[in-house]
Amino acid sequence: MSRPEHIAPPEIFYNDEEAGKYNTNTRIQSIQAEMTERAIELLDPEGPSLLLDIGSGSGISSSIAESFGHVAVGMDISPSMLSVALESQDVEGDMLLADMGNGVPFRAGTFDGVISISAIQWLLNADKTCNVPQRRLNRFFETLYSSMKRGGRAVMQYYPESDRSQQMILDTAKKCGFAGGIVVDHPESKRQKKFYLILQAGGMRAL
């Protein structure tokens, strides 16, 4: 299967037709839901929290976070995905049309925690001449770190393309102040293998 991030930028790839699949394809939905529940388990928030959902897409992950008592703020670059979220999910939290590679536009210490499902691999795309992946990664992790409460955690499920890209993401996060690592679920299964980048924004909480 070709990787969607190789076909077009996310705001182009997730057009109305592709975004609609997220609403009607039950297999996609159940995988997204499963990964969100796992991300929240790894996040292990202390009580009802304010969470940022990066690449919130059709709203599945935000609505699951809300079902656990949290308030989610989603951000996504695809207007089609956001319309799907408006129409189909009963997401109570807010959504923003925003580009993660241009930073997380929130003041310091806003979020208790961060989740992201199948989104951050898009940061490595150089789909426009103004998109330099390393610069976008820097800007993203720098502003993400600042937007989180000290001691807060970010859990980001993603599809790393190569060991090199995985290292590039982790190195940049660490350079921006995060501690953390990668959890791999079902490492033995090529099809079910899932990567979760777990980052800690300061504080002494053990992973």
Partner: protein, 126 residues
Amino acid sequence: MKLLTVNFLTCSNKRCSGTSEAFPLKIEDAKLAIQEIELKPEFLRNILPRVDWNALLISTRQLGNHSLPEEKPELTEESDEVLLKSLHNVLLETEITEGKMTCGSCGHVYPIYEGIPNMLLSETEI
């Protein structure tokens, strides 16, 4: 978009981060709606210390609401339901469905459609 979110949102432009004119974004031409949401006392107690009360006063006044007290109220385990409900109503149930937000530093106008602010910048601003 909720006033809670407005209270944490900043300009996307790198050059504006940390400048006092850039926060809070100035709300104009707003259409409001009330979205009923279940009261979450624990969440309110968690979030209120992080709410910038002065910015909230500025935002609510831009929306024509002058009912909030000058000082941030304190929430305790015993806080009465009236106080919890009024904070809940302002922060979580009041929605800006249409309108625009302007950065006081760079002047960028962020439009809001169907409750979703467009925080994208043009290529020249990145």
